[in-house]
């Protein structure tokens, strides 16, 4: 059976190094299979997170040959196996051990985003009416599996470590989902520029390119948010109109 070498980063917050492991390769294998095989047979204490093995939970994020990927959705057949396959933890977050890193910062950021606040129900039975088309726009954002690969690749976090001032693409997606939610009545534009740092984003689109859910993070979430924020910031007269536009006709549902 053909084999391949996996160069896996082993270590913890204090430091570490790559270690080589060889394992056999069978049809259809993904990187996560190889890592788990190595764990079961050669390195019982190799730390790695995974749950679904089907690209749905966003647990198995890592950098494979230097690219942020979900290990469970990266087929070995798409990698050059003549060379060792390098697997290392996401670089934008502190290391815990081996492939597991500390993504706790993301959970803190999430808490700072103002929660959903619905408008009063449309019908006497306490329910709402929404058109499929309005819902779909937001459903794109709600596909997010919180893998944090976009956070990992964004230079504002990865190179400039602006974790205190910038919430990162994942959370712009969440803010966009809330702001464009057909029922939402909250206003989150003020903090976007002030504490959430949308101004740091210079639209490199690296986040969109790595998103395993193919969410058009920059074009559909960040740019519309930036426009609204700039409108508000520089032209208070257009502020109300812009907000309405962003809300996609909230209040005028079917």
């Amino acid at each position: 059976m053909p084999g391949a070498t996996f160069r896996i980063w082993r270590g913890d917050a204090a430091g570490g190094a790559f270690a080589d492991y060889s394992t056999e390769v069978t049809e259809g294998m993904v990187v996560l299979d190889a890592v788990l095989r190595i764990q079961a047979a050669q390195a019982g204490d190799l730390a790695v997170r995974w749950n679904c093995k089907a690209g749905r939970c966003g647990s198995c994020s890592a950098e494979v040959n230097g690219r942020p990927r979900l290990m469970c959705m990266t087929r070995l057949s798409e990698l050059p196996l003549e060379q060792p396959v390098t697997v290392e933890p996401m670089r934008a977050f502190p290391r815990i051990k081996d492939l597991a890193c500390d993504v706790g910062w993301n959970y803190e950021v999430k808490k700072r985003i103002r929660p959903f606040k619905p408008r009063p129900p449309d019908a006497p039975d306490g329910t709402w009416r929404m058109a499929q088309a309005d819902v779909e726009r937001v459903q794109e954002f709600r596909k997010c599996i919180e893998c944090f690969l976009c956070q990992d690749v964004c230079h504002v976090l990865r190179e400039h470590a602006k974790h205190q001032e910038f919430i990162g693409p994942r959370y712009f997606v969440q803010v966009a989902a809330l702001e464009m939610h057909p029922l939402d009545a909250e206003d989150r534009l003020a903090e976007l520029g002030q504490t959430q740092g949308i101004g740091f984003c210079n639209i490199t689109k690296c986040c969109t390119r790595v998103c395993p859910e193919n969410i058009t993070i920059t074009d559909n979430a960040i740019i519309p948010l930036k426009e609204r924020w700039i409108d508000r910031h520089y032209d208070p007269i257009r502020r109300f109109l812009g907000w309405l536009r962003l809300k996609g006709g909230a209040g005028s549902g079917p």
């Binding site: 019982g44 749950n51 749905r56 009416r129 058109a131 549902g253």
Partner: protein
């Protein structure tokens, strides 16, 4: 005393899937302090993987639907072993729970007039599943998570509970370790809710993740609670079979709901060959009618591809056994054929089943809009679990509650698709409400230091110097999984199950000698070693119960007792520990159904 960090909560919830999150939200709304513990990161629990939808009789698509019909469908699906009180609460309360999710921000697919859209699913008489494409579970868990984090709940992520403590027969606390550092944590609580999900990892082929080792069931059993219906393990008919590395990953029933059909290698719709008597009246007897049903024709009956999961799984096994399977040991599931019927088939498939499209394209090089999939049964869901009071969800141990997949009762001998997500909401809420009520009336119970010490010592045993014949945890786990798959799987036989019982005994001895490399710092080898006792307890309970039920019913099929025995329909099997610490299985008569409910069942026959 061993070094442990102590935390105190009025209510401790173990598990952060749909059931745990909903329970935590309910308990915190009742103004008690709530702690929530889970093995993985928040938002990654199994619930995130649910695809098809949430069953609730909203009657948005077909106004003939009502809680009564949902109740009758659930009971028929469960072959009347269900706790009918739970089935009644579930059918009545599910619609409000779904609407509540919408009020918390969930965005379900819509009907033409802007209400929540509902789809067809196996065993449900009318289109009943509220859904978001094929990622309903993600929508549900994210909605609960994003709402829950603002309710003042203390979340302890990546902590695994390994023991429960009781004081004078009521619950007093739990011992856990954290993955990152391997430190021990003691949770003192007035009430504990178990919401730990399933047991799929007891089998080799499963749609479940590493977390589903039946911890909650084993913890409750060890604490003296009763388990019930442990013989009923659901094998979902359609898991991926090829390539080998994805074997077991789920292919949602939604594929069949949208018009997908099962075919054997001769291209025959073999599901028409065997339609059970009790479903004949409501099942289509020709392909044309079945197609019309999936396209929303209200006068058409559902195609046999959408019969209950136990039956479909067995038909697939039959086709494979008799040599009519696909090249990799499955059968075909074809949705691409709908191209012949509708012009925009490709778009429609991608829109309704985006994750499936993605999953097959990326993992199997198959374009499901053009080619059939290969599928076969996969271990999916545990109908059995902790026996609870139908109203309060309290187990037989005072103060210990259970909800979601780890609890038993609602589904009887077989669960209908979509009835789990609704179960999580309805009974997660009830468990949280009643746990809070229980906690408000008590003080914290004392905890004996020696029991905590003993728990810690036991957990550290795998680090002891290697004993003779010591081995690693992965080998023992793999052997158990292969053994359960072969000997206590879809088709069961007394002789094989006796062998399984023996094998479990030997595996227990081996598990006690397991040793691991490395230290306590994020060490999956150690974690796997600590999961083994739960897996073994659950496997033993399944095997013993399956031996005791000498008939075939729902998900439990005995080759040596292939028919249903009306007598056996009058009892549930209870598993509990006897005074000497051995496992006991006993029959518990099912109480007579209330006359008004009986009438509903008859009217919906």
């Amino acid at each position: 005393m061993a070094e442990v960090q102590t935390h105190e909560h009025d209510v401790l919830i173990i598990g952060a899937g749909g059931a745990g999150l909903r329970a935590a939200i309910a308990a915190s709304a009742a103004k008690v302090s709530v702690g929530l513990v889970c093995k993985s990161l928040l938002g990654k629990a199994h619930t995130v993987m649910a695809e098809g939808g949430i069953a609730a009789a909203l009657a948005n698509v077909d106004e003939r639907d009502s809680w009564g019909v949902h109740f009758a469908d659930t009971m028929r699906g469960g072959q009347y072993l269900n706790d009918w009180r739970m089935a009644e609460f579930h059918a009545k309360e599910a619609p409000a729970c779904v609407r509540e999710l919408e009020a918390w921000g969930a965005l379900f697919d819509r009907t033409q007039d802007g209400r929540i859209l509902q789809r067809n699913f196996g065993g449900h008489r009318y289109p009943r599943l509220a859904h978001v494409g094929d990622r309903t579970g993600l929508e549900m868990i994210r909605t609960l998570q994003d709402y829950g984090i603002h309710q003042g709940i203390d979340v302890h992520m990546e902590r695994t509970v390994i023991a429960l403590f009781t004081d004078a027969d009521r619950i007093a606390g739990a011992l856990a370790y954290d993955r990152e550092r391997g430190f021990f944590h003691l949770f003192r609580a007035k009430a504990v809710v178990l919401a730990t999900g399933g047991i799929g990892r007891a089998y080799r082929i499963t749609s479940n993740s590493w977390e589903y080792t039946g911890d909650g069931l084993a913890l409750a059993y060890e604490a003296g609670a009763e388990l019930m219906d442990m013989e009923f393990v659901q094998f979902h008919p359609t898991g991926m079979v090829w390539p080998p590395s994805v074997q077991g990953i789920l292919v949602t029933e939604g594929v069949r709901g949208e018009g997908g059909v099962l075919l054997n290698k001769n291209g025959r719709r073999f599901m028409f060959d065997d339609i059970p008597e009790n479903y004949r009246a409501q099942t289509a007897d020709n392909e044309e009618e079945g197609w019309r049903y999936t396209q929303g024709d209200r006068n058409a009956r559902r195609p046999p591809d959408l019969l209950t999961r136990d039956h479909v799984a067995r038909c697939i096994v039959r086709e494979i056994k008799e040599g009519r399977g696909s090249p990799h040991g499955g059968v075909y599931l074809d949705i691409a054929w709908i191209r012949k019927r509708i012009p925009d088939a490709e778009e429609r498939i991608k829109k309704k089943l985006p994750s499936m499209y993605h999953q097959f394209k990326q993992l199997a090089d198959i374009d499901i809009t053009r080619e059939p999939m290969e599928v076969g049964p996969t271990t999916h869901y545990m109908m059995g679990g902790i026996r609870v009071d139908p109203e309060t969800q309290m187990s037989t141990v005072p103060g210990l509650f259970a909800a979601g997949e780890c609890a038993a009762g609602l589904h009887g001998a077989n669960r209908l698709g979509g009835n789990s997500l609704s179960d999580l909401l309805v009974f997660g809420k009830r468990a949280g409400d009643f746990a809070a009520r229980f906690a408000r009336e008590r003080t914290l119970g004392p905890l004996a230091a020696d029991r905590i010490d003993a728990g810690v010592r036991r957990a550290l045993e795998p680090f002891q110097p290697a004993a003779p014949e010591a081995e690693g945890p992965y080998a023992v786990q793999e052997e158990l999984q292969a053994m359960m798959q072969d000997l206590v799987g879809i088709v069961r036989h007394e002789e094989e199950m006796r062998r399984a019982q023996e094998a479990i005994g030997k595996l227990k001895e081996r598990a006690a000698r397991v040793r691991v490399a490395g230290n306590r710092h994020f060490n999956p080898g150690w974690h796997t070693a600590l999961d083994l006792p739960s897996l073994l307890t659950v496997s033993e309970a399944i095997t013993r119960s399956a031996l005791e039920r000498q008939e075939s019913r729902g998900a439990h099929f005995r080759e040596d007792h292939p028919s249903k025995d009306p007598e056996a329909g009058r009892f549930n099997l209870i598993v509990r520990q006897d005074g000497a610490g051995s496992m006991r299985v006993e029959r518990r008569p099912i109480p007579e159904m209330r006359p008004d409910l009986k009438k509903i069942v008859e009217e919906n026959g």
